[in-house]
Amino acid sequence: MTSPIVLLALIGVLYAAGVYLILERSLTRVLLGILVLGNGTNVLVIVAGGRAGAPPLVGTAPDAEMSDALVQALVLTAIVITLGVTAFLLALIHRTWTLEREDDLTEDVEDRSVRRRLARGEQEDEEELDTTGCENASDTDDDESELEPASAGGEAAR
């Protein structure tokens, strides 16, 4: 069996580009990275099915010459799943944009407050730790807190 060098190289390029994109902070690029990675994986699944042959339709070609139909079915399933996830992620990114007017992923609030607490090492700072449940009260950065009523009101009007 000969190796499909071109396809393997393509997979390599797609993976490299995908990994690069997914490590970006911009959410749109992360989404693009997922798409590229998904396509790379789809090609990999096709390659796993072996050499390309005749269309797998009964009667059109001898059995031995047909392509493997199973991998094509698998890839179709995978494409549909990727499509669904992409749509959902796109909705989330749009939601982030409506809320934050920003495409970048913000830092985790709790992580930040734990880090700050450790940096100061003061007991009174423990008070700063907020509940995760209190969305509006805890989600904004300190320097943004004066903007909070406005944005919360915007959400309410929605």
Binding site: V30, E110, E127, T131, C134, D139, A152
Partner: protein
């Protein structure tokens, strides 16, 4: 094959089919909430009954197999019920049902017409279907589909309400899980390229002929994929970031189920497909020890109860991985028992946190106090699963840990001994973490909650409360207490700050938030009233009732009832620990022997090409 088991075989697909049909029906019934709720409960109850039947049958007669559409075995999709999958199915569906009742209780209690509960029920049932499919699947690609079904549902459930923090956590969660699914898909492609089949039983037979290097590469790819899903260190960082933001019932069901599906997949991979891989067993042992330790240390560093529990969740995944990594019947039996115990206890604890949030208005131990006095029932509900998690005898957590430690000692290798020590240490650290919550949130009198600097904002809000009685003033101020101090302490007149529950005497207290603060508030189901729209950080203590009502700190009946049922379930695991451990032993023997599973699958075959 006897006729009884063929009848049983026909009901195997139902745990997948019924929730999916139920999801469709509840979507249609979205305008009839009562009917919708009833239908969801009925569907899951039926699934629990079916799972119990399957467990009895699988334990008595060995694995039951059905090939969907009666296709010959390697072609069609096989669903296999062996003692392991039946046990997992029964446990997970029971917990799912209890959490559903809890969620319904929460929704009803909130009486909030605009909550997206219409979306909640169908999605929740889809999640159940995905979990059931993953447990029953006898085919690697079907397992992938099961994962995707449950993940898609979990994406929606996690971001329910679309508030800022949930969207933020949701993006991390979705991206991490999509990447892990892609890694899984790569693994599937590699398996198919190597052995030309995706049927688990057939893979396990053919994998023996694959060169060891190739097999190891495939093995590691699959382990990476499942390791992310199961949150095994160092692939666990996503979990404590994403779980705590979700609604209480959602977190409960996620914590109980989703990581365990990953653990289940690791058990299958390790026992069925790659039974004798010393390299990965070493890797898994090291990962198990690190998962326990890092998770437990993370739990101690946190102040938010939800995050503490998320870290203990990660930490205790390590115990299961430890049992699997030993790859002896004893070790696997310990892991299986531990999975059952942990699904129950972790879901219970997250449900209790939902109640704590309702009564105390916060989930941060720095801002809670006096809960013991305010609600003794709540204290009992927290205490039992908490010490169960920590592994106090005679509870099931102790039995599970004991079994695993015994298995490690019997194994006797130096690395196993190290992990045994780490396991015992982790048990202590877990106990420390949950005891910290107990001491601070329950035992500490409410008037001993630390006094922060008084911010300006509070003074305003107190003016508005001027004509209210003093209970309201104090508590409303406390809601605001923490945030502005992050600026380095705003100047302001210090005023007496006390606990959220200060002065709240059962049956007489009044709540804390203003009525107008809640009008037009962002509906962030189900913690709707915690965050007023105008930014006034009034913590309402949601379960205390609507502002101005005469309220009591009695817990809502349905939610407390569901939580109580979960606590009772956890306790019953202790009572039936003997028989349950026997089932786990049998499951482990079957898993390690492999032949019952494989021969059951191939007994189905009518196509003699498979026999080759």
């Amino acid at each position: 094959m006897n006729p009884g088991s063929s009848l049983l075989a026909t009901i195997i697909p139902l745990p997948v089919l019924l929730p999916l049909l139920g999801a469709g029906a509840t979507l249609v019934l979205s305008r009839r909430p009562t009917l919708q709720r009833a239908l969801s409960v009925v569907v899951l109850t039926v699934v629990v009954v079916i799972a119990a039947l399957l467990l009895v049958a699988a334990v008595q007669n060995g694995p039951i197999v059905v090939t969907v559409g009666s296709w010959p075995v390697p072609l069609g999709i096989t669903l296999v019920v062996d003692p392991l999958s039946a046990l997992m199915l029964l446990t997970s569906m029971t917990v799912t049902l209890a959490v559903l009742v809890y969620a319904i209780g929460q929704g009803v209690y909130d009486r909030d017409e605009t909550t997206p509960i219409t979306i909640f029920h169908p999605t929740y049932l889809v999640l159940a279907a995905g979990v059931a499919n993953a447990f029953l699947s006898g085919d690697l690609f079907n397992l992938y589909v099961g994962f995707e079904v449950l993940l898609m549902a979990s994406y929606v459930l996690l971001t329910l309400g679309g508030s800022r923090s949930r969207v933020r956590a949701g993006i991390t969660y979705v991206v991490v899980n999509v990447v892990s699914s892609l890694v899984f898909l790569v693994g599937i492609a590699l398996v198919y390229a190597a052995v030309g089949t995706l049927n688990l039983a057939q893979i396990s037979l053919r994998m023996e002929q694959v060169p060891p290097g190739t097999a190891l590469a495939i093995h590691l790819v699959l382990l990476t994929a499942f390791g992310i899903k199961a949150a095994v260190f160092p692939l666990s960082a996503w979990l404590p970031d994403s779980y705590p933001t979700a609604a209480a019932p959602v977190t409960a069901v996620f914590a109980g189920l989703l990581t365990k599906v990953g653990v289940y997949s690791i058990i299958r991979t390790e026992t069925l497909i790659f039974p004798d891989s010393e390299v990965t067993q070493t890797i898994l042992l090291v990962a198990a020890g690190l998962t326990m330790l890092v998770g437990a240390l993370g739990a101690i560093a946190q102040a938010d109860i939800k995050r503490i529990l998320s870290f203990t969740l990660v930490s205790h995944i390590g115990y299961m991985i430890f049992g699997i990594a030993l790859a002896t019947p004893l070790g696997v039996a310990g892991a299986v028992f531990y999975v059952v115990h942990h699904i129950t206890v972790q879901a219970t604890l997250f449900c209790v946190v939902g109640l704590i949030e309702g009564v105390g208005g916060s989930t941060s131990v720095t801002r809670l106090g006096g809960l013991m006095k305010a609600s003794p029932v709540l204290a009992v509900l927290w205490f039992i699963p908490a010490i169960n998690l920590g592994g106090i005898p005679p509870l099931s957590g102790f039995v599970g840990k004991l079994g695993l430690v015994q298995a490690g000692v019997v194994d006797g290798s130096a690395l196993a001994w190290v992990v045994v020590v780490v396991a015992v240490l982790t048990s202590l650290l877990t106990l420390y973490a949950v005891t910290k919550v107990w001491v601070l949130a329950f035992w500490r009198p409410a008037d001993q909650i630390p006094v922060p600097d008084a911010p300006d904002e509070t003074a305003e809000s107190e003016d508005e409360y001027g004509d209210e009685d003093s209970d309201d003033e104090e508590a409303a101020g406390d809601g605001d207490a923490a945030r502005p101090s992050g600026d380095g302490g705003l100047p302001g007149a210090p005023s007496p700050r006390t606990g959220v529950l200060t002065g709240v005497r059962p049956g007489t207290a009044r709540t804390i938030a203003r009525q107008e603060a809640n009008i037009g508030a962002e509906v962030d189901w189900p913690v709707a009233r915690l965050a007023p729209a105008d930014g006034t950080p009034a913590l309402s203590g949601r379960l205390l009732g609507a502002p101005g009502d005469r309220v009591s700190s009695r817990l809502p009946k349905v939610m407390a009832g569901a939580t109580g049922a979960l606590v009772a379930l956890g306790l019953s695991l202790t009572v039936v620990a003997g028989p349950l451990y026997a089932v786990a032993d049998q499951a482990a023997d079957d898993l390690v022997a492999r032949s019952p599973y494989i021969s059951a699958v191939f007994a189905q075959t009518v196509d003699d090409r498979v026999a080759r």
